[in-house]
Structure formats: structure tokens, C-alpha cells
Amino acid sequence: MGETGDTMRVVQLLVFGLGTGAFLLIATLGFALIRRVEGFLNIAHVELMSLAAFVTWYFNSSLGWHFLIAATIAVAITALVALVIARVIYDPIKHLGAPILLISSVGVAFLLHGITAAVVGVGIRSFEIPRLDAWRIGGVLVTPYRMVLLVLAAATSVGLALFLNKTRTGKSIRAMAINRELAGSRGINVVRTSRATWLVSGVLAGLGGVALGVLGTLTTDIAFQQILVILAVAIVAGLGSLYGVIAAAFIVAFAMDLSLLALPGGYRPVIAFAIVIVVLLIRPQGFAGSREEVTA
């Protein structure tokens, strides 16, 4: 392969990485939102994604409904499940602190995973969506569904930004993220706002799950395998930062996909992890955030 061949390969992987980044962006936004507003890392976020993916699969592939209808139902169900989990499990132990909430969320992840896997069973599943041929643009293969994800990710980011900046509930969420007590004393209904946050996070997890199924085939373990990469994106962005997630998602995605030039595919998560180590060594607070809460 000559020099142009190498360049083409890099361009190809970058185009591929756009799709990966779009998925990571959607998947991490809801996770980062909860960290920002509720103050803890909700590991169960990935299992909510898994739930959304399999609910979509059930309505779409088993019952034969249109993919978009199935996906909408799945997103709605996931948002409701996220809210119920928050009210039944997380709210009562809030006073115990972030580490206990984090460990509890691992329990929630186990619970959701066990139920999903028991119901769905083993095997590889995929959505009933039309198989589209890749476009060839100047020698580079572009997968249509990856571009659809890119549009979805852009729409999600813009939608979330508008929601947080323009609506009353969104502004309440932002106020609560900065100072919960002050927001409460200034007349913001903290309980209602917290519920709204969980619904939004659930919708984002739902979209992430649907995106996961669009990107490839599904197994019950596939969502949990994403947690490491999602954590990497969240750390690179600075835990709790939302706008940082947009840049971080693509940095991590490009790094992982470009690593295919030199390493076997199984090492992609290792690349994500290497980025985490470098970020924690140089700038542990990520793009945003203060250093004090990070290091001892």
C-alpha cells in the first residue's frame, strides 16, 4: 500500500469513528446529566440502554411493528423505568452519599441485567431494518446508518441544550445541579425537578440503546461492555460536564477507531482506558471541573 492508500485508510477509520462518536455522545449524555444533577455515577445507565434495545427488538422483530414505533415505545418505557428505579431505590439512600449510591447502582445494573437476560435468553439479535448498501464517496465507504446516528446525536445534543436553557424545567435542572439547597430555598420544586432529570436521562439511555442496536447486533452482554468507554468519555469530559461530552465522545471514538491501524480490534477498550489514565495524570478534572474534589 502506498502513501495515498494509508491516507485513505485513516480517512476511512475517521469516517467510521464519526458513527462511534455519535453513539458514545448519545450514550454518555444521560450518564453525565445524572452525575451532574444527582451527584453520582449511575452504572445501571448501560443496562437501561440494554433494556431499550431489547424492548425495541421485541416490538420490531418479534411482533413485526415498524422500527420507529418500536423505538418510540422502547424509549418511553426506558424513561419510566429510570424514574421508577430512582424513586424506589436511589432517593431513599441519597443521604448515605455518592459512594453508596454508586455501589447501589451496580446492584441495579445486576438486577436489570439478570431480568433482561433471563427473559431474552442467549443468542444474537438484530432489528428488522432495511439493509442499506454503503455509499462510496471518493473511495471512502460511508455506512448510511452511522450517518443517521450522527444526525440523531446532533439533534439530541441541540435538543438537550435547548431544553436546559430555554424551558422552565430545564433551567430548574441547571439550578439544582449547581446548588440543590439554594435552588430549593428559591422556590424550585426539587422533587419534581429531580424526577424530570431522571426522565430525561431515561430518554437518553433509551436513545442510546436504540443506537446500539442500529450500529450492530445485540446480545444481552453488549451494553455492559460499553460502560468502560462511557466512563472514559465522561472522565475526559470532566465528570458532570455536558458540553465537554460532545468533544470527548469524538476524541475517544477517533482514538479507538484509529488504533485499528496498529492493534487488533479487541484492544479498543484498552485505548479508551489509556486515555483515562493520561487524563487522570495530567488533568484529572477533565475539560471542566475543579481539581480539589478529584485528588487527595
Binding site: 459512594p99 451496580v106 446492584g107 445486576f110 433471563a118 479487541g266 477498550p269 489514565i277 487522570l280 485528588t295
Partner: protein, 314 residues
């Protein structure tokens, strides 16, 4: 159901995982460090033991591993402890200056990367195929007794030794300093102690025991495959610790005994179809998750096992 066999299995597994729970209790319960990668220190011990003791790779076999020192089992056990120590040094150096959730994330990530390494690197230990039929130490010399019983007793003795050592540390002035590290780090620093050094010391001191527990695990399973060393091990140890009440070595042992009993009893149920067995295995995962949630919330054993926090009233 063979109750005698079940009892031997439970004693062996409780002893091995009990050491891991005690290690985690020292790190989290006493020193306040959230280690979400416990399984990695266990796994490096198991793999180190096999690499040290197995025969060098032969041309004729299908094995792809490159290291095999062919040393006796006691050397393997030392190798397992050293591997735990080295891995703790490598992972502890960048992570221990981080707090709470950041430490949890990096230890978790290190464990996942190690898992990904043993899955993908064929030359290390045959990748996903792993190494099977690892010989049990002194099997021939001990052929007049049931080897399972010998192993159960050996593992139990190991657990008791670790328990006694850890209890001595906890009760010592050093142990009180550790509790200060967990409960009121500022007070510890103010009284002239270096908190970061304490963290590193306890991390390095406890990890070799997790490595040795890995070697015992190899004797029990006679194989090392990546599937044995998933994040599930970490979480089971966490569930056990939370169940018994973190901060108490006795509580840690009660916790791991209950979790292991639960798991082995579920495993011992005979199922008529493969599908039923799969559903049961998945529901067991769900039940463990539910237990973790419930015990974190109500902490039923905490009043009995947990020492009160020593924090000055403000």
C-alpha cells in the same frame, strides 16, 4: 444432592473468596479506598501461579503461551503473591491520589483492561481457551485422602492466617490511623500523618494476599480461563462486604459465607432443561443485585459487626 460434597465446596470457596473480602475490607472498610477492580489482583495471582509452575511450551502441542518456568508449587505461590504486589504497585501509583468515585473508576478500568489483555493475548495464556488441567500440588503424595478435603482445610488455614494478621493490624495503632484516614482525613493530616502514603502502604500490603488467593483458586478449579475472572467476582466480593457490614473483618466473613451458600445452593438445584438452568443463572445475578441494594439500604448486620465511626462532633 450430596451434602458432604457441597459442604467441602462451600468451605473452599468461602475461604478463597473470604481472603478477597478481607482484602477489600482493609482497603475500603478500614482505609476508605473504593477498589472496583478486586478481581484483577486475584486474576494476576492465578495466572502468575500457572505461568511459574507450568511446563515450558512444547512445539508439538496446540498451546500458544510462551512462558512456562516449570517450577514447584511453592514457587508458584510466591510468584502469585509477587504478581499481586507488582500489579498493585503499577495500578496504585497513578490511582491512589484520586478520591472516591475516581479511584473506583480507575481500578475498575485497570481490571477490565487486564481482562481484555488475557482474552486477546494468545501468547500470554492461550487467550479465551485458557489453560486447563493445571496439576494440583502434591496430588500424588496425598493420594491416601480425598484431595478436596485437603484443599478445603488448606484454604481454611490460609483464611485464618490472613484473618489473624489483618485483625492484629486493625487493633494496632496503625489500624487506628487507618480508620482516621477513612473517617476524618483532615484530622489525620493535621496530626502529622501522610495520608497518601498510608493508602499506598495498605494497598501494597493487602494485594499479595489477593494474589495468593488466586493460586488457591487455581488448585480448586484446575484451570485458568478469562471467564472465571470477570467483574462479577469483584461485585460478589462487594456484595459480601456490604452484607456483613464494611469495616468489620468478622462481618466480611459472615457476608461471603452467606453469598457463597446462596450461590452454591442455587447451583446445586437440578434443572431438567438447559433453558431453565440459564434462566436460573440469570435470575441468580438479578437476586445478587437485589441483595446488594437491600443490604446497602437497611444494613441489617451493621449494628452487630460494625465499629462506630470515630468522628468529632462539629
Amino acid at each position: 444432592m450430596n451434602w458432604g460434597q457441597l459442604a467441602i465446596t462451600v468451605v473452599t470457596v468461602v475461604s478463597i473468596l473470604g481472603v478477597l473480602t478481607l482484602v477489600l475490607n482493609m482497603q475500603y472498610g478500614h482505609a476508605g479506598m473504593i477498589n472496583f477492580g478486586v478481581v484483577a489482583y486475584f486474576a494476576v495471582g492465578a495466572y502468575a501461579y500457572v505461568l511459574v509452575t507450568q511446563a515450558p511450551p512444547s512445539e508439538a502441542s496446540l498451546d500458544q503461551y510462551v512462558i512456562g518456568l516449570g517450577l514447584p508449587p511453592w514457587a508458584g505461590l510466591i510468584g502469585a503473591a509477587l504478581a499481586g504486589l507488582v500489579f498493585a504497585a503499577i495500578t496504585g501509583w497513578p490511582t491512589l491520589r484520586l478520591r472516591g468515585e475516581y479511584l473506583a473508576l480507575t481500578t475498575f478500568a485497570f481490571a477490565e483492561v487486564f481482562h481484555s489483555f488475557i482474552v486477546n493475548e494468545q501468547r500470554f495464556a492461550n487467550g479465551t481457551r485458557g489453560l486447563v488441567g493445571v496439576p494440583r500440588p502434591y496430588r500424588e503424595t496425598l493420594d491416601f485422602v480425598d484431595y478436596d478435603i485437603v484443599l478445603a482445610i488448606g484454604a481454611l488455614v490460609f483464611l485464618i492466617v490472613v484473618y489473624v494478621i489483618f485483625e492484629r493490624i486493625v487493633k494496632s495503632p496503625y489500624g487506628r490511623a487507618l480508620e482516621a484516614l477513612r473517617d476524618d482525613e483532615l484530622a489525620l493530616i493535621t496530626s502529622g500523618k501522610r495520608s497518601r502514603r498510608f493508602r499506598m502502604e495498605i494497598f501494597l500490603f493487602t494485594a499479595p494476599f489477593a494474589g495468593m488467593a488466586g493460586a488457591f483458586y487455581v488448585w480448586y478449579t484446575t484451570l485458568v480461563i478469562p471467564d472465571l475472572f470477570t467483574a462479577e467476582v469483584t461485585f460478589i466480593v462487594w456484595i459480601a462486604l456490604v452484607l456483613g457490614g464494611e469495616g468489620s473483618n468478622r462481618g466480611a466473613l459472615i457476608g461471603i459465607t452467606l453469598v457463597t451458600l446462596f450461590e452454591e445452593l442455587v447451583r446445586a438445584i437440578p434443572f431438567s432443561t438447559i433453558r431453565a438452568a440459564q434462566v436460573a443463572a440469570e435470575l441468580e445475578v438479578a437476586a445478587l443485585g437485589l441483595l446488594l441494594i437491600i443490604f446497602l439500604r437497611w444494613q441489617p448486620f451493621a449494628a452487630w459487626t460494625k465499629a462506630p465511626k470515630r468522628v468529632a462532633r462539629s
